[in-house]
């Protein structure tokens, strides 16, 4: 089973990298970009028997720092 795990900064957490990317898009002449938030995406190949609980554990214990980040799991 393939998983895609998206890790994004929580709303309200400042994202200086996203702001720099936003600025660079403006420098390239792209107009109308209201905001940019940078995040991470992990692709995992896991055994079909992997439980939701285990996937949640992987996210909470390592892939995301839940002090500052949210995560979302997609099953491919």
């Amino acid at each position: 089973m393939k998983l895609r795990i998206f890790v994004t900064l929580k709303p309200g957490v400042l994202d200086p990298q996203g702001r720099a990317i936003h600025h660079a898009l403006g420098s390239l002449g792209f107009e109308g970009v209201e905001d940019v938030r940078a995040g991470k995406m992990f692709e995992l190949e896991v055994a079909d028997s992997t439980t939701d609980e285990a996937i949640d554990g992987m996210c909470r214990q390592l892939l995301a720092n839940t002090v500052i980040e949210n995560f979302r799991v997609e099953r491919a």
Partner: protein, 222 residues
């Protein structure tokens, strides 16, 4: 008393800490490899050094915080062992859950490497007893991810409980409430971004960092 410095792949301030600890205690610290599962017997003080453990992969300090030796450090810290994390070591301690909050990319996005003004916020912690409250020190920083973040409730609690040991006396990295170093609830764990181990001898351009080690090592009976 024996002291220990944890060494991860990518640590680069472990020897600075070892020199500082030997200068203060007169005894070379034990260098403990990340893959070890136990701290050596009789260790009374553990330092987690700066650097780029595991290449800062995933998040600064994230992989190191899950290494075998950190399980032992977390367990011993829970029993009151003094633990000091500097720079990447601070990031490791937050990722390991020993200290609240997180260290994010500097607000200005630049790697900041210079001496900064550091104010002693609470001089009654085990680590700051040789300083005066409100005293301003000059201590170097060298980091890319030093922007301290915690939610407002946590920040209020840290301040209310006197757990902010050090604050920046100037704008450095965007840290919430200019927090540069905090202790845990029990007061036996300190994490800070600036490098006191780099201000130990006059040849370093100052000795403002030395009293941190003298104070905490005296407290634990070095």
């Amino acid at each position: 008393m024996k002291t220990a410095v944890i060494v991860f792949p990518g640590s680069n301030c472990d020897r600075d800490l070892a020199v500082a600890l030997e200068a203060v205690t007169g005894v070379k610290p034990m260098m403990v490899w990340h893959a070890d599962t136990e701290l050596p017997q009789g260790i009374g003080f553990v330092a987690v050094p700066g650097g780029f453990s595991y290449g800062d992969y995933l998040r600064s300090g994230a992989i190191a915080a899950r290494s075998p030796i950190m399980r032992a450090v977390v367990e011993q810290a829970g029993r009151g062992l003094p633990v000091f994390g500097v720079c990447n070591g601070f990031q490791v301690l937050t990722e390991a859950g020993l200290l609240p909050g997180a260290l994010m990319r500097n607000a200005g996005l630049n790697f900041v490497c210079r001496d900064v003004a550091l104010t002693v916020d609470n001089a009654q912690t085990a680590f700051t007893s040789r300083y005066d409250a409100g005293e301003t020190l000059s201590v170097p920083v060298a980091h890319h991810d030093g922007n301290y973040f915690a939610d407002a409730e946590t920040l209020d609690r840290l301040e209310g409980e006197g757990r902010v040991a050090f604050r920046y006396g100037e704008a450095v990295n965007g840290s919430a409430r200019n927090i540069a170093g905090i202790v845990n609830t029990a007061g036996n764990v300190l994490g800070m971004m600036p490098h006191p181990e780099r201000k130990i001898e006059t040849a370093h351009g100052g000795t403002d960092g030395r009293r941190l080690f003298e104070g905490v090592l005296e407290t634990v009976g070095a």
